[in-house]
Symmetry: C2
Subunit: 203 residues, 2 copies
């Protein structure tokens, strides 16, 4: 299967980490595709009309997107990251959605501060999006540590990928200062081979 990929996308990283954790990484061929909301990649857009990575082409030609769908698919090839049923299934899926929401808000802020022309950047938007990020991190610290200390799931992978993106794009945010439990969890999580293998480029 082919994964349309960019090394700086946290949503792609989520897929890569899941693939590593499931022992599927060597079955995935990487196709690098640089894309943004104002600069579509034609080859990618032919597969995913939203123009977004990640997208996955299966060997039979079926195309899957977005990251959540691809990860759910990988989890059927070698199940293990999402409980099949029960309240824990929806706890895991909500944790994944929380990780995705952090990424969404952080990526939208990145578009605002890096690709939007300078005189059109809106402080209220940046503050609104980053409030989502910091409130989500507070919630992880206050409500989710027991979950995070439990067995590895897609929720852990999404949250870990989101924190990795914050360190990549907002390295000076000091998010650890007021969230010692989350910082400690992430310190160990970031050392997993799956996370090390998928680190975004530096600088």
């Amino acid at each position: 299967m082919k994964l349309w990929y960019s090394p700086s996308s946290p949503f792609v990283r989520k897929v890569i980490v899941a693939a590593h954790e499931l022992g599927l990484a060597d079955r995935i061929e990487i196709v690098e595709a640089s894309t943004s909301p104002v600069n579509r990649h034609a080859g990618l857009a032919a597969l995913n009309p939203a123009g977004k990575i990640p997208a996955m082409e299966l060997d039979d030609g079926q195309v899957l997107f977005d990251s959540r769908v691809i990860c759910a698919y990988l989890d059927t090839l070698k199940p293990g990251l999402v409980p099949a049923s029960g309240p824990q299934r929806f706890k895991v899926m909500t944790a994944e959605a929380l990780g995705d929401a952090i990424m969404d808000a952080a990526v939208l802020t990145r578009y605002e501060t890096a690709i939007r022309p300078q005189d059109m950047r809106w402080k209220g938007w940046i503050e609104g999006q980053m409030t989502k990020v910091w409130a989500a991190l507070d919630s992880l610290e206050n409500d989710w540590l027991d979950f995070l200390k439990g067995p590895l799931t897609m929720g852990h992978i999404a949250i870990g990928s989101a924190l990795g993106y914050l360190d990549f794009r907002y390295a000076d945010s000091g998010w650890r200062d007021t969230r010692p439990g989350l910082a400690k969890w992430y310190e160990a999580f970031a050392r997993r081979p799956s996370m090390v293998a998928s680190e975004p480029p530096r600088g």
Copy 2:
């Protein structure tokens, strides 16, 4: 269960339509919450730190978000909208992701043209987001009509909710002009009682 709700959100509409189609609508209590990226709703943010609707509080206190997770949960109470396994499962999930991507891009454009201060609106962003929308509609016309004509799934509901949002916010777009097959499908779909019951407010 309690659903945090706004009548103009297409993501909320997806949940409402799914609940109606599954025969679960009368088990859901509605909590209206007006929110935007620059104007958080405190009560909602206490449940979902991303501050977004829909969020669902189950009777045992568990909180589920986002729309995709809530719909997957409803589908376990009375299964029927997502095949349990096989390629068709991931076809349905990708169709839902495509509908969600249309909503995401259309809602981002709405924020740009309705809540952002006028002198900070960026034409390139609006064009980039709406290109996603129109390309997704082209893909629905060219690649998805057979799927859409098949049995009702979460994919249909997401795509129908997305098209409903376009009619609500972009009524003059003329999307039907070049997509007769999709227009015809939606004409019938929009008449379903679930869609009629969840129509966004006019004007």
